[in-house]
Symmetry: C2
Subunit: 217 residues, 2 copies
């Protein structure tokens, strides 16, 4: 994935069908093989993520690769504490199911990183974000999503961990003050592939028909 | 783009090269041809957007297609007011450049829609968002980004308008209370294609090397 076409590319029906496959078979991966990714994988995927759109070309995404075992343990501990608190909000059978869902690949994923957004960046000169400062976070989210799709196209799975306390993560990873925590991510080869989200397979929730989310004005 | 593969798809190097092309040639389009999109295009693209990841499978994205001319005018008026205010924050030459950038395709784009996120949705049963409620907005942003890529693969351009006052947009479009405004979008055939962002072409900002946004911990 290193050399784009020199001329305006024409995307054909075959590409679009495979792109649909990519969207359909992308998953929030929770079960990883422990095998390491090839050296340089994350940096390469971040290079692709940097092609994402950003408000005012601010590129406010910040990636923090987490290899240190003490820092990983701090993240894991915080996940357990937050997950326990979340369980308090879920009653009975649903809570039991919730507990069974094994939401984190934190123990197995060979590559782990956090993503932040930097609202203080001078890049972009503030363009486009005066009335909507959260577009900085939204830009970082699109970088994550770009990385997610690019990884899946290489047979690599991503899992997004959001059951964390942002302040605890910021402290555990000693990031610059003022960065907004977007998420913590597990990256690695998935144990299996699926075209149905795990939460749907497990009976937690089902997807709705697209026409239910469209209003006309 | 209607029938995904029945078996686990194997993405090959050719697909990955075209995916790279897609990322490289996706643009925030400002200049549209006025020609209408084929009937049903937006609904079909929203169907693809609904394949995006969402926290707890909450699918909190809400799309509002805007066809009514009075509502479009209200959006345009609000853009002009917000853009004028933004210009006050930019001095001298930079302000002049900013004014020249013609940030909106609002006058020409045949298809326009707004996207919101519904934090109050019961779908997903609150899973994964107790400590990070903004993951609801992030999910809607990934749906937008999915639509953006799918559209570009069909030769259709998207432009994101963020220089708007969320409260004014919510009023102009009469959306349910409690929805968070994510952005207003112009969709149509682009006047031209490019692999360089317009803000870079115009000298507003340049993109940075990916290794500048990666920390090791």
């Amino acid at each position: 994935m290193e050399t784009p076409s020199p001329a305006v590319p024409a995307f054909d029906a075959t590409f679009r069908r495979h792109l649909l496959d990519l969207l359909v078979w992308r998953r929030d991966v929770r079960h990883f093989r422990r095998e390491a990714l090839p050296k340089g994988t994350l940096a390469r995927l971040i290079g692709l993520a940097c092609l994402a759109p950003s408000v005012g070309l601010s590129q406010p995404w910040r990636f923090v690769q987490v290899d240190d075992s003490a820092r990983r343990r701090a993240i894991r501990d915080n996940f357990e504490a937050c997950n326990a608190a979340a369980l308090q909000c879920q009653a009975g059978e649903r809570a039991a199911l919730y507990a069974r869902l094994k939401l984190a690949g934190l123990d197995d994923a060979p590559c782990q990183f956090a993503v932040f957004a930097d609202r203080a960046t001078a890049q972009g000169h503030g363009l486009g974000r005066l009335t909507m400062p959260a577009t900085i976070e939204y830009s970082a989210v699109m970088a994550v999503h770009t990385l997610w799709l690019a990884a899946r196209a290489e047979g690599i799975g991503l899992g997004w961990v959001s059951i964390l306390d942002p302040a605890a993560v910021e402290a555990a990873l000693a990031v610059p003050a003022g960065w907004t925590f977007i998420g913590y991510f597990c990256l690695g080869y998935p144990q299996h592939c699926d075209d149905v989200p795990v939460l749907e397979r497990e009976g937690w929730e089902s997807r709705r028909a697209p026409d239910t989310v469209l209003l006309q004005r």
